[in-house]
């Protein structure tokens, strides 16, 4: 028996608590239930505020209006990320609030916070070498989106860099999703995007059930654009990064893993 087989056999013979899986699943179900309850309670509060706002709106206009969107800081706070909420209040945060409407959806890039100043926030949850981005998706007809609905994925893309090399996965993406008043919000954490600031950096939304290459095209000259023959939902935002914070050495180091 070779080393691999012997090692596997010995690891597989380790005895853990025989009820571990059952106990863990029960604990998680309880936790998920508590989270859902919290979401619904907060949602009720937001609904009351929205209802008051809606009455005021009805007095002035009859046009349909999407719910008022939360700020990036509010999204981070509701997601339980206090320190990231503070980051969105810092000088380094850029509030964007750009909306693209496509295929019955309203997709909004709310803001981005990244950079070394974030380290002033004395919390392990905020990393100075990471970028934090808040996005949201709402249905244009006002039908609420629930946490259970299929939705879009978001990935950073950089002009001149192949999407299969620079994307959410290679940039160590972590995501938290919350739903408030029928709008689904996403708080993303990526390895810092500022290093790419000399290039055009995009945040691209795409349907999770579609191969990425069907939704976006990448040409030999490094241009990334919408793919012509795709009929589903998508949106591409350009991130306004500070070019002074570009770090070509870090980019080279990042890309060297593919050499």
């Amino acid at each position: 028996m070779d080393f691999r087989d012997r090692y596997k056999k010995q690891i597989d013979s380790l005895l853990f608590n025989e009820h571990f899986e059952c106990q863990t699943a029960q604990m998680l179900m309880l936790h998920a239930g508590e989270m859902e309850e919290k979401t619904m309670t907060s949602s009720k509060r937001v609904k009351i505020i929205i209802a008051v706002a809606a009455v005021v709106l009805l007095l002035t206009t009859t046009a349909f209006a999407l719910p008022a969107l939360l700020s990036p800081g509010q999204v981070a706070q509701l997601a339980g990320e206090e320190s990231i909420a503070q980051a969105f209040e810092s000088e380094d945060a850029v509030i964007i609030n750009q909306t693209i409407e496509d295929n019955g959806y309203s997709i909004t890039l709310h803001g981005v916070a990244s950079g070394s100043r974030l380290s002033k926030i004395n919390d392990l949850d905020v990393k100075e070498d990471c970028s934090y981005i808040v996005l949201s998706v709402a249905r244009l007809d006002g039908t609420p989106i629930s946490i259970m609905d299929d939705t879009l994925l978001f990935s950073p893309l950089v002009k001149g860099f192949a999407p299969w090399r620079v994307n959410a996965w290679t940039l160590n993406c972590t995501q938290i999703g919350i739903v408030r008043n029928g709008v689904r919000y996403f708080l993303y954490e990526y390895s810092t995007l500022e290093m790419f600031a000399k290039h055009e950096v995009y945040i691209a939304a795409y349907d999770a059930n579609m191969p990425f290459s069907r939704v976006y095209s990448y040409t030999e000259d490094g241009t990334i654009d919408y793919s012509g023959d795709y009929a589903g939902t998508r949106a591409m935002f350009t991130l306004p990064l500070d070019k002074a914070k570009a770090d070509e050495q870090a980019v080279q180091k990042f890309m060297s893993q593919y050499e």
Binding site: F3, T24, A25
Partner: protein, 156 residues
């Protein structure tokens, strides 16, 4: 796509990944009870953070990465509090099996790489992606770990 937080989702991830995650946590922490704590914390983060995955491989790699990070933090915390976690568990594992004891006696980064390579059958590139290190670094660690194992196993 799957629905986060549903009983079906929780049952699926716990049943599918517990054994793998317990194994990698044990390789780092050398303790079955600490490994169980680390894996429960990993699952809690999954349910709380609701990350999105491209496929099951992506999902498993994310879970392994989080388990490794949590286990490493537990190791650091135990060393800060002067708790001899590794030494204590070393005796436990040595009694169980010599080969495992030899692997567990390697420095943490080496035994983690050995585990992911030989137990999970990940490639160097995949391990590099999970541990967020350049593939060349992982290759070096794997080579050094193999040399150390060779020397130690010859002395058995």
């Amino acid at each position: 796509m799957y629905s986060f937080g549903t009983d079906e989702y929780i049952t699926r991830v716990v049943n599918n990944y517990s054994r793998s995650l317990l194994a990698v946590a044990y390789a780092i922490l050398k303790s079955t009870s600490d490994a169980q704590d680390a894996v429960q914390e990993t699952f809690l983060r999954l349910v709380s953070k609701r990350p999105q995955f491209n496929d099951c491989n992506h999902e498993k790699a994310w879970l392994i990465r989080v388990t490794v990070n949590i286990s490493r933090n537990m190791l650091k915390a135990s060393s800060r509090k002067n708790l001899p976690l590794e030494d204590y568990m070393h005796t436990e594992s040595r009694a169980e099996d010599d080969l495992l004891a030899v692997v567990l006696s390697l420095p943490e980064k080496y035994r983690t790489v050995i585990h992911l390579y030989y137990y999970e059958d990940y490639s160097i590139a995949q391990i590099a992606s999970i541990l967020n290190r350049p593939p060349a670094t992982i290759g070096t660690w794997l080579s050094r770990a193999r040399n150390m194992l060779r020397t130690m196993l010859k002395g058995e």
